[in-house]
């Protein structure tokens, strides 16, 4: 099956039906293993103590929030350039998931910040740009709901999503460009990760579990969106057939002089 074949929503639905049960099993297993490692294998940090365990929720959520936006941007390119039938479905389905994980990253960061920094929030570049990401997600969701025609909504949202990519770049490099309370990169950086493997492995397992969870929920949401569009098409078809049928009935019933 090629990518071109997947452009057909019916084929895509068939693929989802086969893949989804396996994804659900893999997600549950990865979450169980990840949580076991996070609570029973990973040692407490020599400085942070037990609060380091917040990292196993905070970092995967934050990575997913950015990954989701990057995926929406790619879908937007697919929607604008190739008019791929599933690209705008993918972008629309991902937005609420991205918003949820961005909120989770902000919340877990706040409750991690209080015991470590002494405050839930500071207006530094990383935290502020992440809050902007949440606002952007909410704006995109609102725009999808505000424009009734899904094709028009897809175009407008694709442009706005692509413009918003600049914020993803700002989030990524904010801790290097500006002096922030948030720590600099400690996983993907030159010289290798700054985290010991005893904490890095549980973190990797939790990140994998979150990615699997996102893929599962995204496929389910895409399937819902395809159904929603088909319902809309069926309702429009029913509405266009009904007046034609009634007018032909009326024209037959009306006297010749009235035509």
């Amino acid at each position: 099956m090629t990518l071109y074949d997947l452009a057909n929503p019916t084929r895509f639905l068939k693929l989802v039906k086969v893949v989804l049960p396996w994804l659900i099993v893999a997600t549950v297993a990865a979450l169980a293993v990840g949580l076991y490692f996070a609570f029973f294998v990973a040692p407490e940090d020599y400085q942070q103590g037990q609060t380091v365990r917040i990292m196993f929720v905070h970092v995967p959520s934050a990575q997913l929030a950015l990954m989701c936006y990057a995926m929406m941007a790619l879908s937007s390119v697919g929607s604008l350039v190739w008019k791929h039938p599933l690209a705008d479905v993918s972008a629309k389905a991902a937005a609420p998931l991205g918003a949820a994980f961005t909120f989770l990253a902000l919340f877990s960061g706040a409750v991690w910040g209080k015991p470590m920094w002494g405050t839930f929030w500071v207006w530094d570049a990383r935290l502020t740009s992440f809050l902007v990401l949440l606002i952007m997600y909410l704006g995109i969701i609102a725009l999808w709901k505000a424009i009734e025609d899904p094709i028009k909504a897809a175009k407008v949202n694709a442009i706005i999503t692509l413009v918003g990519v600049v914020n993803v770049v700002i989030i990524k490099f904010s801790v290097e460009w500006w002096n922030t309370l948030h720590q600099p990169p400690s996983i993907i950086r030159s010289g290798g990760p700054a985290i010991h493997s005893s904490i890095l492995i549980p973190l990797g397992l939790m990140a994998l579990a979150f990615v699997l969870l996102f893929v599962t929920l995204h496929l389910m949401s895409m399937r819902n969106e395809i159904m929603r569009r088909r319902i809309r098409a069926m309702r429009m078809r029913a509405a266009s057939v009904a007046p034609a049928a009634s007018s032909s009935t009326m024209s037959k019933a009306a006297p010749a002089g009235a035509r």
Binding site: V18, A100, S108, P115, N224, M227, I231, R237
Partner: protein
């Protein structure tokens, strides 16, 4: 791991994981509820004889495709 070792920072760790569980559960419930509502709506439309222009007469309905068991072979 001994949970009594969480000490004075326990509430922050618990709050982070509780919120994560809440958000993930809320997402799952929302997606499943949306799916079930849409399937019912599609079935009602198909039962009233409304079909998509591109729908084949002999082909399976969309609601069947979304809810039927995975081993059912709809492909001709």
């Amino acid at each position: 791991m001994d949970f009594s070792e969480f000490g004075r920072h326990a509430e922050y760790v618990v709050a982070a994981y509780a919120m994560a569980a809440f958000v993930i559960c809320a997402l799952i419930i929302w997606v499943r509820a949306d799916q079930s509502r849409l399937e019912k709506e599609l079935q009602a439309l198909e039962a009233s004889g409304i079909r998509r222009r591109s729908a084949r007469r002999a082909g399976p309905s969309v609601s069947q495709m979304a809810s039927a068991p995975a081993n059912e072979k709809n492909e001709k």
